[in-house]
């Protein structure tokens, strides 16, 4: 074991644990457990709001997979990754103050609360809850597997032990701390990612002999690496541009991101979050993908893409600093996992259990059920991750696109288009989900339909379905309530 590397990592876990305990103390004073546990009592300030959005979004796939892809594909992948700068401002501006005001009037704590009040439809609620539970559960499990691999490669523990360490760390603070703990931990993790990628980038540039030398080496190896078209010229401008929908503007439709857009305290917090979020997300994305490209001349021949970041950190930085920097991907995974875990359990507890099974649940009953469900989910994920079934991996592959295709129009049009109704929402969700699954399968067999990512066509089809169904079936203008209901 390499204690130089491990000590900073352990220290990091301890700090996270302390945040959970502190948050639990805060919650003990609160009067509304549900709103507090799942939404932090709507009191996030600008910095925390920005960081929790960035950290939730910047998952392990972007933290380990992204630089790995950039290592293989070159600058073209950095260009693709920069479509994510939009997430820094787009979600908060689009959902914006209207979502915040309406969510307060509806007393909505989850995204599904909003959809339920807006469309007054059991089918909408159940389809939403089911998509969230299935897709995000899979996405979460995949992150656990990634986390365990990372710990394994750093410590030399067995996979099962590493998974256990990861699971315990995540569960403890999600269960005791709830949303507030998650949001504050995300903030810490955002700083770690910000500083970590910067240090590592500087380290890699120095190790590579400066920018001129690095680009010269890349040019000698394969000139395509420094073009926007990928190492084999495989990235067309159309395909890369379609990522604006998947990871740029379409992120509005991700429940774990949208729920954060109703968690802030006031408009000042939102304004600050816009500025901080844009800076932080752009900075992190630019740095970490550049690290991937620059790692190539420094450490050629890495076979497994996910290992690029750990290997390059151990190569170019002193042990203790590598440990500190590698806390960043671990941070990214944990923060994604914890917010997904909370969201899945809120869907079960709040959207299904309390809505349909036990509307008159008491405060302490709700509290017990919430923590119990969260713990139970964690244990199931742990057991599944020991020997992950193939279906799980498959579901994770299309989790984000599927959720976006299902949710983007019911959320956005529900807020801004007066004719939106439940028929439109149902048609849109089902069209989005079904067409996404079909096109995803088609693309993996026969290559990309129309040369764009699988998410593009379903987003357009679900928009059409929404508009047509809303206008044809019981067309009616909707008025938002003018006061809290």
């Amino acid at each position: 074991m390499n204690w130089d590397v491990l000590l900073p990592l352990i220290l990091f876990l301890v700090v996270i644990f302390l945040i959970g305990v502190w948050s639990n103390r805060r919650m003990a004073k609160s009067t509304s457990f549900l709103s507090d546990y799942f939404l932090g009592g709507r009191e996030l300030g600008g910095l925390v709001l920005a960081m929790t959005m960035v950290a939730t979004y910047g998952s392990a796939s972007s933290f380990l997979g992204g630089p790995g892809a950039a290592y293989t594909i070159g600058l073209g992948w950095v260009l693709l990754a920069m479509t994510q700068v939009a997430t820094g401002y787009f979600v908060l501006l689009i959902l914006g103050k209207k979502f915040a005001i309406v969510a307060r009037r509806y007393k909505a704590i989850t995204l599904i609360d909003f959809l339920r009040e807006r469309y007054k439809s059991t089918i909408v609620v159940l389809v939403s809850a089911l998509s969230i539970i299935v897709f995000l559960f899979a996405a979460m499990a995949a992150q656990w597997i990634g986390g365990a691999y990372l710990i394994q490669s750093l410590t030399g523990l067995t996979y099962e032990t590493a998974l256990f360490v990861f699971a315990i760390a995540v569960l403890i603070y999600v269960i005791i701390g709830g949303f507030r703990a998650v949001a504050f931990t995300d903030t810490l993790q955002g700083f770690v990612m910000f500083g970590g990628t910067l240090i590592l980038l500087i380290g890699v540039v120095i190790a590579g002999g400066g920018l001129d030398q690095i680009f010269n080496d890349l040019m000698v190896e394969n000139p395509n690496l420094i073009t926007p078209y990928g190492n084999e010229g495989q990235l067309t401008s159309l395909y890369v541009s379609s990522f604006w929908i998947l990871v740029g503007v379409g992120v509005v439709g991700l429940p774990q991101v949208a729920v954060r857009a109703m968690s802030y305290r006031d408009s000042k917090s939102m304004h600050r979050a816009l500025m901080i979020g844009t800076v932080v997300v752009g900075f992190i994305m630019l740095n970490m993908h550049l690290i991937g490209v620059f790692a190539r001349p420094v450490l050629p021949g890495i076979e497994v893409a996910d290992q690029v970041i750990p290997l390059i950190a151990l190569e170019v930085l002193p042990g203790w600093l590598a440990g500190l920097v590698l806390a960043a991907p671990l941070a990214a995974m944990m923060s994604t996992v914890d917010s997904l875990l909370l969201l899945v359990s809120s869907s079960i507890v709040k959207d299904v259990y309390i809505n349909y099974m036990k509307p008159k649940a008491t405060y302490s009953h709700v509290k017990k059920v919430s923590m119990g469900v969260t713990a139970f989910l964690g244990i199931i994920v742990f057991l599944l991750a020991i020997n992950p079934p193939e279906l799980l991996i498959y579901l994770n592959l299309f989790a984000f696109g599927g959720l976006e295709a299902a949710f983007i129009w019911p959320i956005v049009l529900g807020l801004y288009w007066k004719y939106s109704n439940k028929y439109g929402a149902i048609a849109s969700m089902i069209t989005g989900l079904v067409s996404y699954i079909i096109i995803f399968r088609f693309n993996s067999e026969y290559g990309d339909l129309f040369g764009v990512h699988a998410v593009v066509v379903p987003v357009i089809l679900s928009l059409l379905a929404f508009i047509i169904a809303s206008l044809l079936i019981k067309r009616e203008v909707y008025y938002f309530p003018t006061k809290t209901i």
Binding site: L75, V78, L79, M82, T83, V85, A86, G88, Y89, F90, L92, L93, I94, G96, K97, K98, A100, I101, R104, R105, G210, L211, D212, F215, M219, P223, N224, I226, T227, P228, Y229, S237, S241, W244, G248, V249, D266, S267, K268, H271, L274, M275, T278, V279, G282, F283, L286, Y416, F480, T482, K483, T484
Partner: protein, 101 residues
């Protein structure tokens, strides 16, 4: 607790919110155009003819690095000069920082 919130004030807040959502769309469009414009014009030359700015290929420098900085500046301008502070609550009349301009 005030139940008779003036209809006008409610609508005014929604109007502002609608305008700010459109600003989000415009920002994203500017972002996409800038990003696409530099990447696929300067970047489509053969790599041997690339020019470099501060060590980076020019297409990448203008599209990704300057593009990012431009977006940060635009977002700051929008936040400082265009977005409106408002109360998100309905109960009290003013809320916190709900001054109108």
């Amino acid at each position: 607790m005030m139940n008779n919130i003036p209809e006008r004030r409610t609508e005014r807040r929604f109007k502002i919110a609608h305008r700010e959502a459109w600003i989000g769309v415009i920002l994203a469009l500017v972002n996409i155009l800038w990003w696409y414009g530099f990447a696929y014009t300067m970047g489509s030359k053969v790599p041997e003819e690339y020019t470099y700015v501060f060590g980076f290929p020019a297409w990448f420098f203008w599209s990704c690095i300057v593009g990012f900085i431009v977006m940060v500046i635009l977002v700051f301008i929008v936040v400082k000069f265009v977005l409106v502070d408002m109360s998100l609550e309905d109960e009290d009349d003013m809320g916190n920082g709900g001054h109108s301009s």
